[in-house]
């Protein structure tokens, strides 16, 4: 017979923990705080818009909804490519992992470029965030929106754009590491938490698109 232990340690003590590795848990916790950040901003938007409906133009009067709808589609596609990247990592498919990550970075950058073009066009039509330069006019000179509109619009979409920018930068780093072979079938937590962040940012955009562009 084997003598397993010389000292009797009753090992029947329950093992604590979530069964999730630290990094993933940390990312979930962090995203909770991000939820609150956007809740605060969206709450502010809703309060201001309800208090002063006259300051806001109707959907499509100032904003280019079809262009942004296309942009939304692009961001959703980037979530799909992210899922494919993670699936490739699960299977140990290095080539797939690298290509899908590259595609995600590209789609993210594409989204940002379209947003930049949108900002540029809006600003050149006089739609700016500053209170001192307010009053958006339509082609016939009619007043379409007032200061609150620009401020809240740029703040909300701008903070989302900032999150996408950070995401693209981090994702580029992840991609670089993937090309260096940093992720294996057994260990690819970095890809997973990157994906969590990315999906979160997409989700926020869908909510923002609905509130800011459609309602």
């Amino acid at each position: 017979m084997s003598h397993a232990a010389a000292i009797a340690i009753p090992q029947r003590q329950p093992m604590p923990g979530m069964g999730v590795y630290n990094l993933k848990l940390g990312m979930w916790v962090f995203l909770l705080s991000e939820v609150m950040f956007f809740t605060g901003l969206i709450g502010a938007y809703i309060i201001l818009r309800f208090a002063h409906p006259g300051d806001y133009a109707r959907p499509g009067e100032v904003l280019n909804v079809p262009l942004t709808a296309l942009n939304t589609f692009i961001l959703i596609c980037s979530s799909v490519t992210m899922v494919k990247a993670f699936a490739a990592a699960e299977l140990g498919d290095q080539r797939g992992l690298r290509l899908w990550l590259l595609a995600t970075v590209a789609l993210g950058a594409f989204f940002l470029s379209i947003q930049a073009i949108e900002y540029y066009k809006l600003a050149s039509e006089g739609f700016v965030p500053m209170a001192s330069l307010y009053n958006v006019h339509g082609p016939d000179g009619a007043l379409l929106g007032q200061p609150l509109y620009g401020m809240t619009f740029y703040t909300l979409t701008g903070f989302h754009g900032m999150h996408v920018t950070i995401g693209v930068l981090c994702m580029s780093f992840t991609t670089y590491k993937a090309f260096r072979g940093a992720y294996t079938q057994a260990g690819h937590g970095g890809v997973e938490i990157m994906g969590l962040y990315w999906h979160f940012v997409d989700l926020v955009w869908i909510i923002l698109f609905t509130i800011v562009y459609l309602i």
């Binding site: 397993a4 604590p16 630290n22 993933k24 848990l25 940390g26 705080s33 709450g43």
Partner: protein, 593 residues
Amino acid sequence: MSTMAIPQAAAAVHLHDDRPFIRRYIFSTDHKIIGIQFLFMSLLFLLVGGLLAMMMRWQLAWPADAQHPLPGGSLLPETMVAQGIMLPEFYNSLMTMHGTILVFFAIMPLLVGVFANYLIPLQCGAPDMAFPRLNMLSFWTAVPAGVLMVAGFFVQGGHAAAGWTAYAPLSAVPEYSGVSTGQVLWTVSLIILGFSSLMGAVNYISTVINMRAPGMTWFRLPLPVWALFITSVLILLAMPVLAGALILLLFDQVLGTSFYLPQANGEPLLWQHLFWFFGHPEVYILILPAFGFVSEILANGARKPIFGYHAMVLAIVAIAFLGWIVWGHHMFQSGMNPMLGNTFMFSTMVIAVPTAIKVFNWLGTLWRGSIQFQVPMLNAIAFVAMFVIGGLSGVFLASTPVDIFYHDTYFVVAHIHYVLFGGSLFGIFAAITYWFPKMFGRMMSERLGKIHFFLTFLFFNLAFFPMHNLGNAGMMRRIYDYRQYAHLADLQPLNEFISLSAFALGVTQLLFAFNFLWSLFRGKKAEQNPWRANSLEWSAPSPPPHGNFAVTPIVYRGPYEYSSPESAEDYLPQDQPPAEQPVPAPDLVPASS
């Protein structure tokens, strides 16, 4: 899938720590060093914030009185003090900075930065935090925030002067308060501090969830860990809202937007909603950890199990939850729909229930205990008494009809200080004196500690209790010279009395500083477990080495088994194996065949 971090990383204990000085004490990733860094930083800010209070009290004792020039006033620039008399703008800066520094840079880091860092891994039986490097970053983000905050005193245009709540539009455009650069620095500093707290919170939450030692179930956690865990959840969810509100304020200040400016359709009340949606949970961030420390110390000092452990945990959770739905009680007088006012009134009063549960459980713990009046215990008992007074005045303020009268008077100031000084700070004194031996391997002087305690208790009450009377008499808070109102001029003698008590209170704190520094170098060497306590930190050496435990501890029971019949001693450490094994391990039975 990636490997799971099962929390048994039997720590590599470096008895001979050969990391260079900088890695060890400055840019350390060791949670204990980071806790101690926070300790020194926040004690420094406690001193600064206290000093500002002394100057305010001088002004209130002898408002704009040439007979009583501000001591040292001649050292300050003409923009602050002219001919020994403090200028109104400077008074506004003082009261703003006093509140801001003490709330955000003293009490909050003392409770959370110091003790969440120091205690969570030790009491959970973990070698370190879940993310040690993030932890280091969190401290080194808090430092520049503090520097920016203080730097405001030296910039052109004067310091922030819109009160610690920075109500817009006062805080948003220079025309109103006459300051701009300082107010912008104030905003930026708090945004940065928010990042620091957030990193901390992510770390503490992940550590409690994932890094507990085997056997450390949720309901075997010591109450400080529970309290700090729930507090971290509050920080995690409240800080981002403040950050968002502050960013909008910053835009108003520097970019020309008008989120909070009525002249361009902005909403000043929006700031109040966002601020207090953060602000009320924040006041629980400032008290829940102290609840935890005091529970631990009362049980230890009474040599009895804590009364109603589960109720204590549930009460913390309930208070934290209710804290989210009561923020409007700060805005009763700001022009709110009366129906909304009633909702906030009732929800606020409901908080009294879990709070009372905690108070009665503390009393139940003391009941028939063999109480030992050591310094931590004295401070913990004072905490309970003072917190009850502060909580009661809170119920006054929470009822809308009464608050019409009391809002923005010194009654509110009395309330704040009974909960924040009488509450949080006594809790902090209790905690520092209790864990000092573990942190530094030396005991603090009992005699000095007792003198400090009794004088603090006395002068605290002499200084702050009469403020209730000032409030009754109608003296408003944040006022530079109340003597310009005929009905307040008579309050000067009472104000003078309060100020003298406050000066005595301030001087008494030097005793604590002296005791702290002296004991650091000269204190009696501490044993491993000087308070004969049960929780895991006392089974590590004092101070614990890098990595904390030589072997990962195994936990068999809850932390409050004092005077247990199971043990000959009157305490039973959590990691001491049960005396007899319920089932004999079959391997140890000699094989007969």
